[in-house]
């Protein structure tokens, strides 16, 4: 019988400081605690996340948050079998804080350290609510990422396509900023879109005319800027609705292609389509993706919202799976601002931020 393992997880790669305790055992996965301190307020007046402010907040709050996670889990650190921390990709100043704290705990307790790829945390997050059931097709769509990934098994990920510029959440944020709406932009734009006419403005559907699964969203933002310059702030709701529809159209069309590809490479089994990332909170986008999955006879699921956005439970979970598989990290492991999930493939064909330092994500 499999022995229970309990892992502390730490997440500091963007503007959320988070800590969680997850237990993996014969009876499945249990999230014993999951705490998060959002910095939204700290960054609000800047109209976006300021890396230096984020890094300062992480170092100020992280140890207190870990204490809270342990106390909510009713555990002492001595009953932890390993400590997992996001070590990239992300805002490097914050990632360093989380990894350095994790290394210290690893030394102090003489317990294994597991450096976790933030994207892998998201990719495996469906496992927080049920059996993982490899393989599945994942659309990770958040403020920092937008990619289709074939998740074959633990540690085996194939990126099928990704944005070549802005992530979808980033496009929402920038659109909100252009319209003078509060951050984060996703909820602001969605709220106003409900009252708007989605056919009011004809916005582009970038890269839909091209084969493949790569996406682009920066042009959409530019189109929004032009409209704002033209019509002023009179028709904000119409702009929001038109923008959101354009995003939903692109994601649905690309998801359809992705499912076709996935089905071809996994014949004879019913495909599973999982959407993770903060943008999955958007009702219209989620509906469109679900409808697409239904049409192609894929099952559709999205982890609960708290595990769709950045969180430490998914990091603890991914760390626990690796620990169980006998993998841990050396104390000398470094942070990686750029760290694609399918490392080798991305280095050969970087679609996003390629160059001397390699693909970004």
């Amino acid at each position: 019988m499999m022995q229970d393992i309990t892992v502390l997880g730490i997440e500091t790669s963007c503007d959320e400081t988070a800590a969680a305790v997850v237990r993996l055992g014969a009876s499945g996965v249990r999230v014993l605690s999951d705490v998060i301190a959002s910095q939204v307020e700290d960054h609000a007046v800047y109209g976006g996340v300021v890396p230096e402010i984020a890094a300062r907040a992480h170092v100020e709050r992280l140890d207190g948050l870990i204490r809270r996670a342990l106390s909510e889990a009713q555990l002492s650190l001595s009953s932890i079998h390993g400590v997992a921390a996001t070590s990239g990709p992300g805002l490097i100043g914050g990632v360093m804080v989380g990894l350095s704290t994790a290394k210290a705990i690893s030394v102090g307790l003489n317990t294994p350290l597991i450096a976790v790829n933030h994207l892998e945390g998201h990719a495996l997050s469906p496992g927080l609510v049920g059996p993982l059931g490899f393989p599945y097709l994942l659309l990770l769509v958040s403020g920092g990422h937008c990619q289709f990934i074939a998740v074959e098994s633990l540690g085996s990920y194939r990126r099928l396509g990704s944005t070549i510029d802005d992530a979808v959440g980033e496009a929402f944020d920038k659109t909100a900023k252009l319209l003078g709406l509060p951050q984060p932009g996703g909820p602001s734009v969605e709220r106003l879109a409900r009252q708007g006419d989605a056919t009011a403005f004809n916005l582009p559907r970038p890269l839909l005319d091209r084969p493949g699964l790569d996406m682009s969203f920066s042009g959409l933002k530019t189109a929004v800027r032009r409209i704002v310059e033209e019509v002023g702030s009179e028709r904000t709701a119409d702009v929001c609705a038109s923008f959101q529809l354009a995003v939903a159209d692109v994601l649905a069309a690309k998801a359809e292609r992705a499912m076709g590809l996935f089905a071809k490479s996994h014949p004879g089994e019913r495909g599973r389509f999982v959407v993770a990332g903060g943008v999955a909170a958007n009702a219209q986008i989620r509906e469109r993706l679900k409808a697409t999955a239904d049409t192609l006879d894929f099952t559709f699921s999205a982890p609960p919202m708290r595990w769709c956005t950045d969180n430490a439970a998914m990091i603890a979970h991914a760390g626990a799976l690796h620990l169980l598989a006998g993998r841990k990290s050396p104390l000398t492991i470094e942070v990686r601002a750029r760290w694609p999930l399918d490392g080798a493939a991305a280095d050969h064909a970087p679609v996003h931020g390629g160059g001397r330092k390699g693909a970004r994500a």
Partner: protein, 237 residues
């Protein structure tokens, strides 16, 4: 020096090197790795090394000292996050010590020392971090001054006041005073001050009542960010 803690770990990641020191009743064990980018990779193994050499389980540490700055922001965060993480793991106090405080040896009878460190190095934006370190190696508030302010601080702290002067780079201070036309200060004696993880550990060991507030990096400057005019002027909520 009277000690209130016997086994103390000192961590210094503020400068170009990553240094740790383990203070024990018998000896001080020190390790350093050079290189500004070495901190993140090196720190944890250095700590593990010194503990192993002293054959000391981490849980036997009495206290952890960390140099809080001023210095490279990334380096400071690596050090402070590590020290606080270790403090959490072994349930011990973490004591913050500034680079200036860690760089001079203060005896009970010693006069205060004005410690000067280069901040911005390129004129015309040249500036200096200054802090007066007094009894018990406790410093006053860290200040950033420009060349003119440095000359004033040197005059105020000069021989008349009984305060001594020390700097990480005495020659640079003398050059600055000369450039500022303060030939009258040419005869000042400026001692060499060198930040030290071992001294930080000794200062922490001698601290009777460590603050209950965990240390934060000593940034000395607000984050470099400008509020967005769009958001700031927006009335939409």
């Amino acid at each position: 020096m009277t000690g209130f803690a016997r086994y103390v770990l000192g961590v210094d990641t503020a400068g170009d090197a990553c240094s740790v020191a383990l203070l024990t009743p018998a000896c001080v064990i020190e390790r350093t790795v050079e290189g500004r980018t070495a901190h993140n990779a090196a720190l944890a193994s250095l700590v593990k090394d010194v503990l192993a050499q002293a054959d000391l389980p981490p849980a036997k540490l009495d206290r952890i000292a960390v140099i809080t700055g001023p210095g490279s922001f990334a380096g400071l965060r690596i050090g402070v996050a590590f020290a606080r993480g270790l403090g959490l793991a072994v349930d011990r106090d973490v004591v913050g010590v500034s680079r200036h405080e860690s760089s001079v040896e203060m005896l009970d009878s010693s006069p205060p020392v004005l410690v000067i460190a280069p901040a911005r190095r390129r004129p015309p934006d040249r500036s200096w971090w200054v802090q007066t370190v007094g009894a018990g190696n406790i410093g006053d508030e860290l200040r950033e001054v420009e060349d003119a302010g440095l000359a004033q601080a040197c005059v105020a702290a000069g021989p008349a006041s009984g305060t001594r002067l020390a700097s990480f780079d005495p020659a640079a201070v003398m050059r600055c005073l000369k450039d500022a036309g303060r030939d009258d200060l040419g005869a000042l004696t400026i001692d060499v001050a060198t930040p030290s993880a071992a001294r930080a550990a000794r200062i922490a060991a001698a601290t009777r009542y460590p603050s209950s507030r965990p240390p934060m990096p000593l940034y000395g400057r607000p984050p470099d960010a400008t509020p967005s005019p769009v958001i700031a002027s927006s009335s939409i909520s």
